[in-house]
């Protein structure tokens, strides 16, 4: 305990410089779990750089298959229950309520407040990374914000402007739909709640009791479902389309718009050149909007016996240069203000759309219901509504019941 307070008060120094220790002491090993989209990316160079600066620590980095989120979560929960958890791990907001209930996380508040790198991360990000109980268990590591990809070359041909509102979005979608070409690639399979949120939560529904079945919410959802059933600006395969389909369809010139993030920008440009651009997702009738904040954080596990050491590693990963290097591996965006200034991994227009989306960026409520909602309830219910098996209003009723009983 004494040691912990001592260390906490000197964290800033610790993160920067190795502590003078009796030599020949065996380095402390920190087990850290991560997942990258690119299997060729390896954090070895980062680990070596850190270990060189911190000879008293050894990082054991383990890559865990993502498996749509299910595999990673299953392994994480199992290891926690079996008291075999890593010392630190990459985590998502949607894990937070469950991990909190398990008392699985170390409170990083004191560490963060004494950390030199704190000021280099924007207040917006810290606000998003504060748990519902006011504590801080997560340290920002990477992020993306969903925006709207648009084939600007198609729109130019049709003389239609880039969409900024729902109405303009529909106009653009209709203009681009012809033959075997569709206006919008909707992700109707698991994970597609991000698309739905932009149009329905952005269109007037609220994540609060009664907020999903209010007249405004029901109207927004009907409008959303009708994009498929009535306006037919969405390909028929949408109910089973995942991210690989919506991206492939856009790249192949089968759809004119879709909602995704900067992680796929370089691929898009390789396939479509200047024809493709991105704008923030359209705003609703009253000017409100909603887009999904795609988070990625590190957490230190409560059962770790080397929490200080684990904190030093995750804090280092969120400092300027290390964080930029990390995000080049992970394909996402740096959380540091200094790093963002020199960010040149993707063409500027995609970074602009990302930053321009921040004001409306949000996450689903951090409650225990959300994980099941995104994995099971949302896809099942929405697909039924798209296929006409239930009405759009019934669909909202199911969601209301799932969240608010």
């Amino acid at each position: 305990m004494q040691r912990r307070t001592l260390l906490a008060s000197t964290t800033a120094a610790l993160a920067a410089a190795p502590l003078a220790r009796p030599h020949a002491q065996k380095p402390t090993t920190v087990r850290w779990w991560y997942h990258f989209d690119d299997p060729k990316a390896s954090p070895d160079a980062l680990v070596q750089a850190f270990e060189k600066a911190n000879p008293d620590l050894k990082i054991q980095a383990e890559s865990i298959p993502w498996g749509g989120g299910a595999d990673y979560d299953t392994r994480l929960y199992t290891s926690i229950i079996a008291q075999n958890a890593p010392d630190a791990a990459m985590v998502k907001f949607n894990n937070l309520p469950r991990l909190m209930e398990m008392d699985a996380l170390a409170d990083l508040g004191k560490h963060i407040d004494g950390w030199a790198g704190k000021a280099d991360i924007s207040a917006d990000l810290w606000r998003l990374h504060t748990a519902p109980d006011g504590k801080r268990y997560y340290i920002p590591l990477q992020y993306v914000v969903l925006y709207l990809y648009v084939r600007q070359d198609w729109l130019a041909q049709k003389g239609v402007k880039l969409p900024g509102t729902f109405d303009e979005f529909l106009t653009a979608g209709k203009a681009m739909t012809e033959g075997d070409r569709w206006g919008f690639g909707l992700r109707g399979g698991a994970g597609g709640h991000d698309h739905w949120c932009s149009f329905v939560l952005g269109g007037g529904a609220k994540m609060e009791k009664g907020g999903l079945v209010s007249p405004a919410a029901l109207a927004a959802n009907r409008w959303f479902i009708e994009l498929y059933t009535k306006q037919k600006i969405i390909p028929p395969s949408a109910p089973n389309d995942g991210f690989q389909q919506i991206i492939a369809n856009l790249k192949a010139g089968r759809t004119g718009m879709t909602i995704h993030h900067i992680g796929s920008a370089n691929d898009m440009v390789a396939a479509l050149g200047d024809g493709i651009t991105a704008v923030p997702v359209p705003r609703g009738p009253q000017g409100q909007g909603w887009t999904s904040f795609g988070d990625g954080s590190n957490a230190v596990l409560a059962q770790s016996k080397v929490q200080e050491a684990a904190w030093r590693w995750v804090a280092w990963l969120s400092t300027a240069e290390a964080n930029v290097a990390f995000n080049k591996l992970s394909g996402q965006v740096t959380v540091t203000t200094s790093g963002a200034k020199t960010w040149d991994v993707q063409p500027k227009r995609f970074m602009d759309a990302t930053v321009g989306s921040l004001p409306i960026a949000a996450v689903l409520p951090q409650t225990a219901q959300t994980a099941d909602f995104t994995r099971t309830v949302w896809p099942q219910t929405t697909q039924k509504a798209l296929l006409g098996q239930i009405s759009p209003d019934d669909m909202m009723g199911v969601f209301e019941k799932h969240y608010f009983g």
Binding site: P236, S237, Q383
Partner: protein
Amino acid sequence: MKVSSRALPWLLLAPALAATVLLVLAPVAQTLWLSLHDVILFRPKSQPFVGFGNYVAVLNDPMFWESLGHSVVWVVVSVALQFGLGLATALLLNRRFAWRGVARALVIVPWALPSVIIGLVWTWMLDFNLGLLNQIGVRMGLLDAPVAWLARPDTAMAAVILAVVWQGFPFFAVTLLAGLQAIPREHYEAASIDGASTFASFVHVTLPGLAPVIATALLLRMIWVSNSLDLILVMTGGGPGTTTHTLPLYAFLKAWSGANYGYGSALAVVLTLLLLVVVIAYARRGMRDAPA
């Protein structure tokens, strides 16, 4: 060393039994025990005993009954097709022709692939926009327009069954091919001396000779297909809507995504009991005629 013939079978069985008890039976017992509790994965400290509460809830759960229905279709149709195709393949591969060895080896390719690969490749081949099958179908005039096979409630189940048949028929081909080797050649010779046609010798010699292996292979495959969820998970996730939502998938989603491990365990136990009924019916018929 002479072992009494009473003890010998037990000695022969001991290693297999020990491994099963330790690695299968013990975890099954533990899961059974969990199914009597309200186990929410993220509330490790509060897991009250609820008796048969989870089971009552299962029986009153419309999603359970719907999943059961889908499971029956999934199992019956796909096992029948795998078996038919596998039997035909085994009979053909048992004949003598120049490239038999290569044909036998190549036919197991689908079986030798991990399910996740099979799921992704079939998803891609069936894709609406970029799928090979739609393109060939349209080009050959078999389809008027591309079909979103996995997104339509009337075709999604057929599509996942197609994938599991592709994956599973080599299993039947190999096991039945091995079974065919045990049929003494004299039986065929005797039949052909009696002037039996190819078909008659198939019915009177091949089928009876193959019967024990057929019965075992069918039973084993049925159990395997009943419990398999990975292809469906990759291809449709149970959708569109709940069109391909089967029982093991439901148990898996409840236990892990829904974190309701107690309820998921109860679903798994019910699935096991249902299978047990089928197996007992089989064992009563099939094991009686084993040589005593």
